[in-house]
């Protein structure tokens, strides 16, 4: 059967390019491999050139595949399964990008693009490391290209192609019996509404660039072990680690910002397995970066550097395994799922190749890796930096262990779970954060090799005292009543003060050298921001209606808190909440989204004068596939955020229309009073532009012009239409005045008395309500500032390493 209207050419080209990129990655990997092993310079450069050409072909094919897939999504070619599955026609341009990386194929493609770009940039200058590093990069690309093949080998399907046709994937469906099936497919499946957020346009590319940049430190580790040569090695490794640390860190925190803005778990970090598994490679990378700095300065810690940087990329693969295979199913709110069994097997193979290959090489070379025989001094910077890295690794072990619980359950057939994950992670990680922060505060005051105690104490004492005073004040005024939280607050402040003081004393205005300290200050501020915003996070929507019931908590207060976090707001009925008077004023519909206007008013106690007034519009999308998808709206103050979101709402279509119209005959200037306002009839007008009226020849149409005013003095004009068609048919459609929750109609016109009869009705406001939650996050801006400073610190360090030899 010949199918109609299909666009098969781009898909065929895409298929071909995917295959080409696969073949080219093999050629590249082999060529770079032989080049690395060649003893003869002519051979070496011959194979190197071949490898470079192959990689270039590979990279260009990947760009081609990427562009074609985007072209298909952009043009809504729903004959392609990927396009149909992840996009729909109504999506604005920016979200078409989000569609691209919603699925596994697209996100792997994004990953490959970054490897290709970084590889091409890296290939511009040849060093002794280029060939071995690029063999590893090409090997990684080989594995990733396999996943896009979608070909059958020996009856087994290998990979899944983004260009698979809908009619092939769902060949069972009866509509594919028809040649014109495309005319029956009106629209695609659409994009998960949670991903329709601007952070989701930018967060995945940045995160994947971060993932991609961990491959290069890994490749350098393999290259050094392979060549058994560690000269001129550490400089590029530190640069790549700094770059990776900066980008991956930014990507992770953008994910946090997305969660804060568009998810309603009430925060920026929930220790969700998906978050954890991207945090872990970053922590390992940071540990590796610090041991690399130690090695550069003192020749200590080479082995740990090799191991950590190797693990960082392997953990990126592990993270992909956790998030993409659906094994997290029961523990994560993120909506990735099982994209087939083959994917799990394939990712395990990918991971084991890189992990076991790397470890085998490491232990094979273990004896010949240069190592310092002499012990580090207890007073040396390198020793404590190393301890700090170890603490980071303990943190990594703990997070990975708990996050992997579903994997353990799968392997050992157990059914273990953590009942309160947030509490679980917090209670352990807080102590590790304390240790790391303490180290971050002190480290610059220690010198490499050896520090004299007198010097150290003299230098550290002023910042220590200053921090003790500042943090004591914060702890007192912010009421940080938990001991570990108070200690963490001190350590955060100490980190900021000590590093700022170090800049002031030693680096002055030589901004180029601020990098390390600045990143540390950023880290300290992040800790302060996290402590203040989460420890004193306050659900302010405590409900005053309804009954209490026992939640099994120790105290009455806790019971109340548990049971009353949701607040019911009837339309137009003000409710007091945490010093504000809240009024739900109705909803507006924009596309699939309902925006619920909630007016916040703050009044002076005695005079009742309004001191503050704003409207938050949390939105909820009643999604046909996922039910209510709620996006919060947030009022940002300098010192706090008020975060509001809808937990439940009425389905207006289900409200029974039981209220009858009331009628009143009015002449010009007469008023009609309704529940929340008044309308005044101003006379007739012309009504040709009404949306519920299409003019036809011979129509006689008039509108009744009405001025509406509500109790607050808000005014609006309404003009319900009345028309006679074909000289005898009378039409008087209902006008809906949403802002007033009012329905209007011109019942009849009475020329002899020069009056009109207006019919009006208002559904009860009891039928229209929302249930919402409001949370106050104090001082959350400190967290965002901290993140920005940390990223800037990375950037400065990177700049310094690139400009000074």
């Amino acid at each position: 059967m010949e199918f109609q209207n299909e666009h098969l050419i781009p898909g065929n080209i895409g298929h071909f390019l995917a295959l080409l990129s696969f073949v080219a990655s093999i050629v590249g990997a082999i060529s770079f491999f032989i080049s690395t092993r060649s003893k003869l310079p002519t051979n070496e450069s011959h194979w190197y050139r071949l490898g470079r050409s192959a990689f270039t072909v590979h990279a260009l094919s990947v760009f081609g595949v990427f562009s074609i897939l985007f072209y298909l999504i952009f043009n809504h070619y729903f004959e392609y399964h990927y396009v149909w599955d992840h996009s729909s026609k109504a999506l604005p341009f920016k979200y078409l990008l989000s569609c691209f990386w919603e699925g596994q194929e697209g996100s792997f493609l994004l990953w490959m693009i970054w490897h290709s770009i970084l590889g091409l940039i890296y290939l511009r200058k040849k060093t002794q490391w280029t060939a071995p590093v690029m063999s590893v990069v090409s090997l990684a690309q080989f594995f990733l290209s396999v996943s896009l093949l979608g070909l059958y080998f020996f009856g087994e399907k290998i990979g899944s192609s983004p260009f698979a046709l809908l009619r092939d994937v769902m060949s069972e469906a009866p509509i594919f019996q028809q040649a014109n099936y495309l005319t029956l497919i009106q629209d695609g499946n659409g994009l998960n509404p949670l991903l329709q957020n601007y952070w989701m346009v930018i967060h995945p590319p940045v995160l994947f660039l971060g993932f991609a940049s961990t491959l290069f430190p890994f490749a350098y580790v393999i290259a050094a072990l392979w060549k058994n040569n560690y000269d001129n090695w550490i400089q590029p490794v530190i640069k790549w680690s700094l770059f990776g640390g900066m980008i991956l860190g930014t990507g992770i925190m953008m994910g946090g910002a997305w969660a804060y803005e568009s998810l309603n778990f009430g925060g920026y970090w929930a220790w969700d397995p998906v978050e954890n598994s991207s945090l872990v490679p970053w922590l390992v990378l940071i540990a590796g970066l610090h041991t690399a700095v130690i090695y550069k300065a003192t020749k200590y810690s080479l082995r740990s550097t090799l191991l950590f940087l190797m693990l960082s990329f392997v953990l990126v693969l592990y993270s992909t395994f956790l998030t993409r295979t659906g094994i997290l199913g029961e523990t994560s709110v993120h909506a990735f799922t099982g994209e087939g069994n083959y994917l799990g097997i394939y990712l395990v193979l990918f991971l084991l190749t890189f992990l076991l290959g790397g470890l085998a090489l490491f232990f094979y070379r273990y004896k010949s890796i240069p190592d310092h025989r002499k012990e580090e001094e207890l007073s040396s910077r390198e020793f404590w930096m190393f301890i700090g890295s170890l603490v980071l690794m303990i943190s990594v072990v703990q997070i990975t262990y708990t996050t992997s619980m579903p994997v353990w359950n799968e392997i050992f057939g157990t059914k273990l779970t953590v009942v309160d994950p947030v509490e679980h992670y917090n209670s352990i990680q807080i102590w590790l954060a304390i240790l790391v922060a303490l180290g971050t505060a002190l480290i610059y005051y220690l010198k490499f090799k050896k520090t004299s105690t007198a010097f150290f104490i003299k230098k550290i004492l002023p910042p220590f005292i200053a921090s003790a005073i500042i943090s004591a004040l914060i702890i007192y005024f912010q009421d940080l009543s938990s001991v570990p939280v108070a200690i963490l607050m001190f350590c955060g402040v100490f980190t900021v003060v000590a590093n700022a003081a170090y800049i002031a004393q030693n680096k002055k205005l030589n901004i180029k050298k601020w990098g390390g300290n600045m990143a540390h200050i950023g880290f300290g501020l992040m800790l302060i921001g996290i402590v203040l915003s989460s420890f004193n996070k306050n659900v302010i929507s405590v409900n005053r209606l309804g009954v209490d019931f026992d939640m099994g908590k120790e105290t009455v207060a806790e019971n109340k808190k548990e049971s009353r976090e949701n607040l019911l707001l009837f339309r137009d009925i003000p409710v007091d909440m945490a010093g504000y008077s809240l009024t739900y004023e109705g909803d507006t519909v924009v596309g699939p989204d309902h925006f619920y206007s909630v007016r916040y008013i703050k009044r002076e106690n005695d005079t009742g004068r309004i001191t503050e007034e704003f409207i938050l519009k949390p939105n909820a999308q009643i999604n046909p596939k996922m039910g209510l998808v709620s996006n919060p709206d947030t009022k940002h103050y300098l010192t706090k955020d008020i975060f509001t979101y809808i937990t439940s709402t009425v389905d207006k279509s289900k409200i029974k229309d039981t209220i009858a119209f009331k009628t009143k005959e009015v002449s010009v200037g007469d008023s009609i009073y309704f529940t929340n306002g008044v309308m005044i009839y101003r006379g007739f007008g012309q009504g040709s532009d009404k949306p519920n009226y299409q003019a036809q020849d011979g129509d006689i149409a008039v509108t009744a012009n009405l001025d509406l005013m509500d109790l607050n003095g808000k005014t609006l004009k309404a003009n319900p239409i009345y028309y006679i068609r074909n000289k005898r048919d009378v039409f008087n459609p209902i006008d809906t005045i949403k802002q007033f929750n009012l329905y209007l109609r011109v019942n009849k016109i009475i020329p002899e008395r020069k009056t009109v009869e207006i019919a009006y009705k208002q559904p009860s406001s009891m039928d229209d309500y929302i249930i919402m939650k409001a949370i106050e996050f104090p001082y959350i801006n400190i967290l965002w500032i901290g993140i920005i400073l940390m990223v800037l610190g990375f950037l400065l360090s990177l700049y310094k390493r690139f400009t000074s030899k």
């Binding site: 309804g546 019931f549 939640m551 309500y769």
Partner: protein, 130 residues
């Protein structure tokens, strides 16, 4: 022994202590029956919504934070559940519930529900327009 060794040993001891302290946070998924053996202690239960001859009660006008329904756990026992929150939209369509809470007499007091909707994942339904 060098002092550096002592510090590293301390660190190892600390990590050991952490791992030991973690054990208490773990538990297995329970059924209503096993959770009832320790009333008041929090567990996680995997269950399905039970609507056969049972009704869901949610009257936000009376109390927006009280949602009552019945769920059937993996052993097939159906139990009354009181959730201290708003009724999640489209709760009827959930295929699987992971509930966190504790037993109190004959009811399960639930403070958190993770819902899995089949429709969220099964994209293989083609909507046909006219």
């Amino acid at each position: 022994m060098k002092s550096t060794h002592i510090i590293i040993l301390l660190l190892i001891a600390a990590s050991f202590a952490i791992i030991v302290s973690m054990v208490g946070d773990f538990s297995t998924y329970q059924t209503f029956e096993t959770a009832a053996e320790k009333p008041g202690k929090e567990f996680q239960i995997i269950a399905k919504l039970d609507t056969i001859n049972k009704t869901m009660e949610y009257d936000p006008i009376k109390d927006p934070n009280r949602f009552v329904f019945y769920a059937k756990d993996e052993s097939g026992i159906s139990q009354k559940v009181i959730f201290s929150g708003a009724k999640p939209q489209d709760f009827e369509r959930s295929s699987k519930l992971t509930m966190t809470g504790s037993m109190d007499g004959e009811t399960f007091k639930c403070r958190e529900i993770l819902m899995k909707c089949p429709s969220k994942y099964e994209n293989d339904q083609i909507a046909i327009g006219s």
